[in-house]
């Protein structure tokens, strides 16, 4: 029944993963001496920018944002251009999404600092990590659920998922956060490797966790599609 959606999800994820890959490889051609560890912040920005752009585009095209309405693009397009008063509400949604994005960056920054990151010394690095985490997690929430915190809280409960996309959101977000968490493990080790420098291991962990989530989510949904039942609201 959901074969169609699972395929759509898999292809969308393939595109996002490809974007991450390209964001790692391509800047090397432009910027001299670009490397993941060496010019870490640059890599971090390029990855988060790429993921943000690609996921916004993909989710916008797929039309996940409004699960109650028809999924056809024609409908959306016509609705978008024909009714100017909807345009205004759309703009306010966009504005709120931006505000939420920024707030989420601050939130992640606070959490990371509370977890033990230096408060003042490398604030830029910490904030960059927060931006990366936000673009990997919160942005997805924004794309799938819109700027609606209630819905976010609802989605992260056992019976809260209402579509395959919600389940996918759960898996990717949890994988990303756990990846970042695991990424903090090697920091205290005395190996003196370049990737142990703050926040390289955490952002690498988050990215790897995110990629894992991208692969795992369609696979998990595919193998559990018999057990999954969604209630409609």
């Amino acid at each position: 029944m959901w074969d169609h959606e699972i395929k759509a999800m898999a292809s969308a994820h393939a595109i996002i993963a490809a974007a991450v890959f390209m964001a790692t490889v391509l800047p090397g051609a432009v910027v001299r001496g670009f490397s993941v560890c060496g010019t870490h912040l640059l890599w971090l920005y390029s990855v988060s920018g790429a993921v943000a752009a690609v996921s916004v585009a993909v989710f916008w095209l797929l039309g996940i944002t409004r699960p109650t309405k028809k999924h056809t693009l024609g409908y959306k397009l016509s609705a978008r251009f024909q009714q100017p008063h909807q345009l205004r509400s759309r703009l306010s949604r966009l504005f709120r999404s931006c505000v939420y994005f920024f707030l989420s960056c601050l939130f992640f920054h606070t959490v990371v600092v509370l977890y033990g990151a230096p408060l003042i010394e490398s604030a830029l690095e910490t904030f960059s990590l927060a931006v990366l985490l936000t673009s990997l997690t919160t942005l997805r929430c924004l794309c799938v659920l819109g700027p609606n915190v209630q819905a976010w809280i609802r989605v992260f409960s056992r019976h809260g998922a209402m579509s395959v996309w919600d389940t996918c959101l759960q898996i990717t977000v949890v994988c990303t956060v756990v990846g970042a968490w695991v990424g903090a493990f090697p920091i205290p080790l005395d190996w003196d490797r370049p990737w142990q420098v703050w926040p390289v291991s955490c952002s690498l962990g988050a990215t790897i966790g995110f990629l894992t989530g991208l692969v795992a989510a369609p696979a998990w949904i595919h193998y559990h599609r018999k057990q999954l039942t969604y209630k409609c609201k």
Binding site: H4, K7, A8, A10, S11, A12, A14, I15, L61, L62, T72, L73, G74, L77, V111, L114, Y115, G116, I153, R154, F156, S157, R158, H159, G160, W181, A184, P188, L189, D190, K231, K233
Partner: protein, 1443 residues
């Protein structure tokens, strides 16, 4: 895969193409194209159009949308058909209906071309044809219907039309999809008549309605009358029934009252002299009955035997006696008691098994030795004994002052110089980087064999630099823990070479590894230490030495020069021996040795040696040959060896042997504790002394050596008992035999036999071997046994926590088997040892006992599981589910697993404080997320599925849930905040390079800036005040401060007094010494007395709490109206049962309820309120009954906390406040999550505490160990704690040691003692109705009352099992940590950091466990003590109040 996307993308393309390209492909936008497209060979046919092509005038084909090719000229596009739906207006026309009304009607027709071929060739003008068809059809269809039907059946009309049109139009390739009638116009006349018809209809309906209203009204009136009559009669009926019931209840109540009276009486009868009293009362009643009879009537019925009162009394007494026999039995049967004994004994067993495991492992791993703090002097070594004035004695008496063989010595210590680094093999054509790099030794030895020689130099494990330096300066076998009387500094206090050099007036100059500086502080004439810690730095130390070495040698102000090079060792640690860097380093050393040899003078001895070797990976610390075998090269410009190398020379020189040899060569006494043996090749044989430079002969040297060793052995065996006694006596006998033989030889002046020297040598060797066997060896067997026992103990603990309920049910009977087995095993092993070895080693008996009992317990648990599985499936399933990986890998258990794993890495141990905080933080964040995941954090949305009854939630109001969630989140925030703040109280290890220890860690008196000092002081006093206030506030809130018992006295007076004492003490100890000179006496007095007073207050407080832990205040109110002469029974429901236990069950909720009510009335102040009950019955009000268990525990912890704070630096008060806040936050998080689970009806029942809060509790204990400035290293122990209240030091060691222990493990103690609070707190914070589903209907019919901790008294069995489970789980987590650190020490015993990181960590973890378990036992015992007191209290109160 990408199809979907492409489809979507394709749609966009289509959309955008739609307007532009169509314009040029088909310029004509008409429906039926008038101008047809040209034949341009390549043609693009738009979507939904069909172009009919004729080839040479004949129909050829129809072009599909898309790209098409046509042959020019021959082909021609003849028709263009649009396949889209077409809308045609059917013009208005008139038709006549069946009832001859003329109607004007029009419509819309929706068509579509299905077959372009037919549409092109079947009809000339499809549109016209269809329109006509529609018109005619409509007319004919209308003719079939009447006017009314036309309006009503538009739909059917439409469908009929479509049907009939389709029949005709099939041949034209057109399909009619819909026909819609647009409008129907009726002639005006007809319209009017229709209006009138409608009006009439309305009028009719109005009349009918009116009449119906009248009818209804009449019926209603009649009904009302009928109902009224019925109700009246029912009322009468009810009244009569109620009266009857009332009477019946009255009869019942009377009967019950009587039964109680009888029981009371029987109770009274059971007492002493009860019988007599009963007879008296019976007799009285008898007489009074008769007197009444006499008063009321004039006829008296007398029994047959009026006078025989005694007979009647006897008869009555037999009845009483039978009653008296039965009642106590009933009471016993019903009474359920708290099972204190099984709980405590089980806990004790578990703890003791852990202790045995730790003891065994530590006994095998940590080598312990007592230090002998005596020093040799010139006199006591060289007296040949016996006081005989012999020639040798006379010659040797002033040996100290005599000219020694060498005046000066140069000691070049090359760290980790393995023996094969120093050997030179000329045949080796392709030497590896570490081979053949020190040719100078070989050259020197070969060129002048009498001047230099190379020996293998064997170190004793542990092969670490500090232990080795100790070893080759004291001549002893240093172990990891050298128990001395001052364990605060690492300085060597045993007698050693450096000390002896100093005593003999020699100037010792030192340069190199700074370990020497800490080992011999202020012993050197001059010293140039360099930092040794950074293993990666290969050159700093060596180049530092080389800068000064040669100039110092050329200068004159030295006698002994020690230079310790570290480069080789660091190179090994960093690169391993097989690395070019090692070759460079060794070549450098070669150059150094050459240069030193060139600068030597005749009276100077050169010693080049390594302190230990290294493994092939460059590590050391263990006992493999590569680690122990170092090189020793002795050289002197003067002839050093009297003879050439002979067969009798030792293959290997033990490191201890260097000490006596050097001492005798340089003319100083051998250090007292040395067990070394002189190097015989260095001394001339007897009789050749004259030829040599002068000095001792072999035999004399051996004799002095043997005498010194014997003296040490005697002293040591007097102090410690760890040398086996039979070995000791054997050695003593041997020495006395040799002694007499030697004295005889010397006395007679005859040349000594070579056997004597050999046997003296043998004696010295055997002494050293004995000592080594005692001190310097890991005992792998013991280590393995300890590990196994600890592993099994952890497993046992875990299973015990899961089986706690079963164990409590069977009353701890499962315990007997293991204990008996343990005793039996211990006795067996002891007997076996006695038989085979002749003595008993306690460790092995304990090991056997522990292991056997563990195995038996595990076996029984396994068996019971198997039988349970075979018996019944469902229960066994639940039972067996705890060992599945899915159950074990939940985050609450994953976190301790990570924590244990982190103990295996030195980096994580070094950063332990951060690691634990990190894990605790993660778990704290996990809890709300998990609750949200279960849907418990938010009130459930009101969707129809749930309200239909899927979730039975009795008292689920969204506001309650929201409030609880708010509390939970707030507490998580508080927890996280205090965790973050607590990071700033950490100390620093020396391994953490850039780390600043917390400024709060230094005592106030060390602060220079007075403003800062004041700020710190104010902060500390403030947090102390907050601590006290919070405790009192909490107790008062729950009404525990009203009574006058011991505990309340403590809370009211001792607690504040203690804080005041502490504040004053801080103030006094912070005063600078020089100010207030005239008050110096007073200050010193205060420094002594204030902490002692605090100690006394603390002891008194703890004792009072223990003595009278109840904090319940009872108020019994007398009847309000005195007019009723007879007291009506108190408002208290009589139970159906007769047992006092049943009464208790009803009384407790009531007492509590009243308490709550009056508290509500009087506000939170806890003041009594007069307007409690309106009725005139006496009431019982008990304040603080709901928190009767937790209040004393809380108070105990609070008091203890202040006491422990006394032992800390002042700044730690802030950290302690954070600790209290964190404790509270943890408790509230646990309570709120339990309540939330209860509110949603998913509460599992019982008082079980889940893993997550316990894990957090245990982690918090470790975390605050760090946050109070402690670290698991010996230098970081806060020794100042030993001098609080004892500024002048102590005489014994027990008191300071316990003070330091209390200081070090303060957080372990506090958290362990407070551990039972985890069980109690959810009850304290319980919300009404949250546990409604639990099946506890004991509250009776007044509904669900919150009875807080009284629930525990209602279910003593569940209470004890939950207490046991909680304690075992807590012990399990700590035990697992101990096991992990023990494993780390065992696995990594070769690690570079083992003596710096892992071994101290093991010691701290083990002692932490010890302290924690003892404190946990104290906490549990306190709870049990409270339970006993509560039981007594109820016994006392029930007779007073219930009757």
């Amino acid at each position: 895969m990408l199809r979907t996307l492409f489809r979507a993308g394709g749609a966009i393309l289509q959309q955008t193409q739609r307007t532009a390209p169509r314009l040029w492909v088909t310029p004509a936008q008409q429906r039926w194209a008038s101008s047809l497209p040209m034949n341009t060979v390549v043609l693009f046919v738009p979507q939904q159009e069909a172009w009919v092509v004729e080839r040479m005038g004949r129909f050829h084909r129809i072009l599909e949308p898309g790209l098409n090719f046509l042959i020019p000229i021959l082909d021609r596009v003849r028709y263009v058909q649009s396949l889209k739906e077409i809308v045609i207006d059917v013009p208005e026309q008139s038709a006549v209906s069946l009832d001859n009304v003329t109607l004007q009607i029009d419509g819309v027709l929706y068509l579509r071309i299905l077959n372009p071929f037919k549409a092109s060739y079947g009809v000339e003008d499809p549109e016209y044809a269809v329109t006509q068809l529609a018109q005619t059809t409509m007319r004919s269809e209308l003719g079939k219907l009447t006017l009314d039907k036309v309006f009503r059946e538009r739909e059917s009309l439409n469908s009929n039309m479509v049907h009939s049109i389709n029949q005709a139009s099939d041949d034209w390739g057109i399909r009619c999809l819909r026909y819609e009638i647009k409008d129907i116009h009726v002639p005006p006349r007809v319209k009017e008549s229709m209006q009138m018809q409608v009006e009439a209809e309305r009028k009719k309906r109005a009349t009918v309605l009116e009449s119906e209203g009248t009818r209804e009204a009449a019926i209603n009136v009649a009904e009302g009358r009928k109902q009224a009559q019925i109700l009246a009669s029912e009322g009468q009926k009810e009244e009569q029934i109620n009266k009857a019931a009332g009477e019946a209840q009255a009869v019942l109540a009377k009967a019950e009252a009587k039964s109680k009276a009888i029981r009371l009486l029987s109770d009274a009868l059971a007492e002493q002299n009860g019988n007599a009293a009963a007879s008296l009362s019976v007799a009285e009643q008898y007489v009074s009955a008769f007197s009444n009879l006499a008063k009321e009537s004039n006829t008296i019925l007398l029994p047959s035997n009026t006078g025989d009162i005694s007979g009647m009394v006897t008869q009555a007494m037999t009845i009483y006696s039978t009653l008296a026999k039965t009642t106590p039995r009933i009471a016993e049967a019903v009474e359920e008691k708290m099972k204190a004994l099984p709980v405590l004994s089980l806990l004790l067993c578990v703890c003791s098994v852990f202790f045995v495991g730790i003891y065994l492992f530590v006994g095998g791993f940590l080598l312990v030795r007592l230090e002998v703090n005596r020093t040799s002097t010139c006199g006591d070594v060289l007296q040949p004994g016996g006081g005989e004035p012999s020639a040798a004695a006379a010659a040797a008496a002033d040996f100290c002052r005599a000219r020694p063989r060498f005046r000066r010595a140069v000691l070049l210590v090359v760290d980790a110089l393995r023996i094969d680094f120093a050997r030179f093999d000329a045949r080796n054509a392709a030497p590896r980087p570490h081979e053949n790099k020190l040719p100078v030794l070989q050259e020197a030895a070969a060129a002048r064999p009498a001047h230099g020689r190379l020996f293998p130099f064997r170190a004793d494990p542990p092969t670490t630099t500090m232990q080795r330096i100790k070893g080759f300066t004291t001549g002893s076998l240093p172990t990891f823990v050298d128990v001395g009387n001052n364990f605060a500094s690492s300085a060597i206090l045993e007698d050693n070479l450096i000390h002896q050099f100093g005593q003999a007036g020699k100037r010792v100059v030192f340069m190199g590894d700074d370990t020497w500086e800490s080992l011999f502080p202020k012993k050197f004439h001059r010293s140039l230490p360099f930092p040794s810690f950074n293993v990666k730095d290969l050159h700093t130390v060596d180049s530092g030495i080389l800068q000064h070495l040669y100039t110092t040698m050329m200068g004159g102000d030295w006698d002994v020069l020690v230079a310790h090079f570290l480069g080789v060792d660091h190179c090994g640690h960093r690169f391993g021996p097989d690395h070019p860097a090692m070759a460079d380093k060794l070549t450098q050393m070669d150059g150094v040795i050459r240069a030193v040899i060139d600068r030597l003078q005749n009276d100077t001895l050169l010693v080049v040696m390594g302190d230990h070797g290294m493994t092939d990976t460059g590590d050391h610390g263990g006992e493999s040959h590569k680690e122990t075998d170092a090189a020793l090269f002795l050289y002197s410009p003067a002839p050093l060896f009297p003879g050439p190398p002979s067969q009798s020379e030792p293959d290997v020189v033990p490191q201890t042997d260097l000490v006596p040899s050097l001492a005798l060569l340089l003319g100083v006494p051998i250090p007292y504790s040395s067990v070394g043996q002189v190097l015989l090749p260095l001394f001339p044989p007897h009789g050749q002394t004259d030829g040599a430079v002068g000095g001792l002969s072999q035999l004399e040297a051996l004799w002095i050596n043997a005498k010194q060793v014997n003296r040490f052995l005697e002293t040591y065996s007097g102090m410690a008992k760890d040398i086996p006694p039979e070995n000791l006596s054997q050695l003593k006998d041997e020495f006395s035999r040799l002694s007499s033989e030697y004295l005889a030889t010397v006395g007679e002046g005859r040349p000594p036999s070579p056997e004597l020297a050999a046997s003296l040598q043998a004696y010295l060797t055997s002494v050293r071997d004995t000592c080594r066997a005692t001190w310097a060896r890991f005992n792998p067997l013991k280590m393995a046994a300890g590990l196994v026992i600890l592993a099994f103990a952890c497993l046992t603990c875990f299973i015990l926590s899961e089986l706690s309920l079963t164990l409590i049910r069977e009353d701890g009977r499962g315990l007997k088997g293991p204990v008996v087995t343990a005793l039996a095993a211990a006795v067996c092993v002891a007997a076996g040892q006695l038989l085979t070895q002749g003595y008993v080693e306690v460790a092995w008996c304990l090991a056997a006992a522990a292991l056997s009992s563990e195995l038996l317990f595990l076996w029984t648990a396994y068996r019971s599981r198997v039988t349970a599985v075979s018996k019944n499936g469902s229960k066994a399933l639940k039972f067996a589910s705890w060992l599945t990986p899915r159950q074990l890998l939940t985050p609450p258990l994953l976190v301790p697993l990570l924590r244990c794993a982190s103990l295996l890495s030195d980096s994580y141990v070094i950063a332990e404080g951060r690691v634990v905080t990190f894990l605790l933080f993660s778990l704290a964040l996990y809890i709300p997320f998990h609750l949200n995941w279960d849907g418990l954090l938010l009130p459930p949305s009101h969707d129809p599925l749930k309200s239909a009854g899927l979730l039975p939630s009795p008292a689920l109001s969204p506001s309650t849930v929201r409030k609880e969630s708010g509390t939970l989140l707030g507490c998580v925030g508080l927890l996280i905040g205090s965790l973050y703040l607590s990071l700033s109280f950490h100390g620093c290890r020396e391994e953490q390079g850039a780390c600043q220890p917390s400024p709060f860690l230094s005592p106030l008196s060390r602060l220079q800036d007075s403003q800062l000092k004041n700020l710190h002081y104010v902060l500390s006093v403030f947090s102390l005040g907050v601590w006290t206030y919070l405790l009192r506030r909490c107790l008062r809130h729950y009404g525990n401060l009203n009574s006058s018992g011991g505990a309340v006295f403590v809370a009211r007076w001792i607690l504040p007094l203690l804080s005041v004492c502490l504040g004053l003490h801080w103030a006094v100890s912070a005063t600078p010494e020089d100010s207030f000179r005239n008050l110096a006496e007073l200050i010193s007095l205060a420094q002594l007395s204030l902490p002692r007073a605090a100690f006394c207050l603390l002891g008194l407080g703890l004792f009072l709490i223990w003595l009278d832990p109840l904090t319940v205040f009872i108020k019994t109110r007398a009847a309000a109206s005195a007019r009723n002469s007879a007291l009506p029974p108190p408002r208290y429901r009589a139970s159906t049962g007769i047992s006092p236990q049943a009464e208790l069950h009803h009384l407790i909720p009531q007492i509590y309820q009243r308490m709550r009510r009056s508290l509500d009335d009087g506000g939170s102040s806890g003041e009594l309120s007069g307007a409690g009950e309106v009725d005139s019955r006496p009431a019982v009000e008990a304040y603080g009954l709901g928190t009767v268990y937790s209040a004393p525990l809380l108070l105990f912890c609070g008091l203890l906390g202040i006491g422990l704070l006394l032992l800390h630096p002042e700044g730690m008060a802030l950290s302690f406040l954070l600790l209290l806040l964190e404790m509270g936050a943890l408790l509230h998080i646990h309570a709120s999550s339990t309540t939330l689970k209860g509110l949603h009806g998913t509460y599992s029942g019982g008082f079980k505490v889940p893993w997550a809060p316990i894990v957090m509790w245990a982690l918090a204990a470790t975390q605050f160990f760090h946050a109070t400035g402690h670290l698991p290293t010996f230098p970081s122990i806060q020794w100042g704690a030993a001098f609080v209240g004892f500024p002048d030091g102590h005489t014994g060691t027990i008191l300071p040691a316990s003070l330091v222990t209390l200081n070090t493990f303060a957080s372990h103690i506090l958290f362990a003692v407070a551990c039972p609070l985890l069980l109690l707190w959810p009850l304290v914070c319980e919300v009404r109705g949250s546990r409604g589903g639990g099946g506890r209907a004991a509250c009776g019919d007044e509904g669900e009352d919150a009875v807080m901790e009284m629930r525990l008294r209602e279910n003593p069995q569940l209470f004890s099992s939950a207490l046991l489970q909680l304690s075992t789980r807590y012990l399990f987590i700590h035990g697992a940590q101990v096991f992990a650190s023990v494993s780390a020490a065992a696995i990594l015993r070769r690690h570079l950091m083992v003596w710096k990181v892992f071994a101290p960590k093991l010691m701290f973890e083990a002692s932490g466990f010890l302290v924690s378990s003892v404190s946990l036992l104290i906490g549990v015992t306190l709870v049990l003590r409270v339970d006993v007191a509560v039981g007594r209290w109820f016994k006392r109160i029930i007779p007073d109040v219930a009757r």
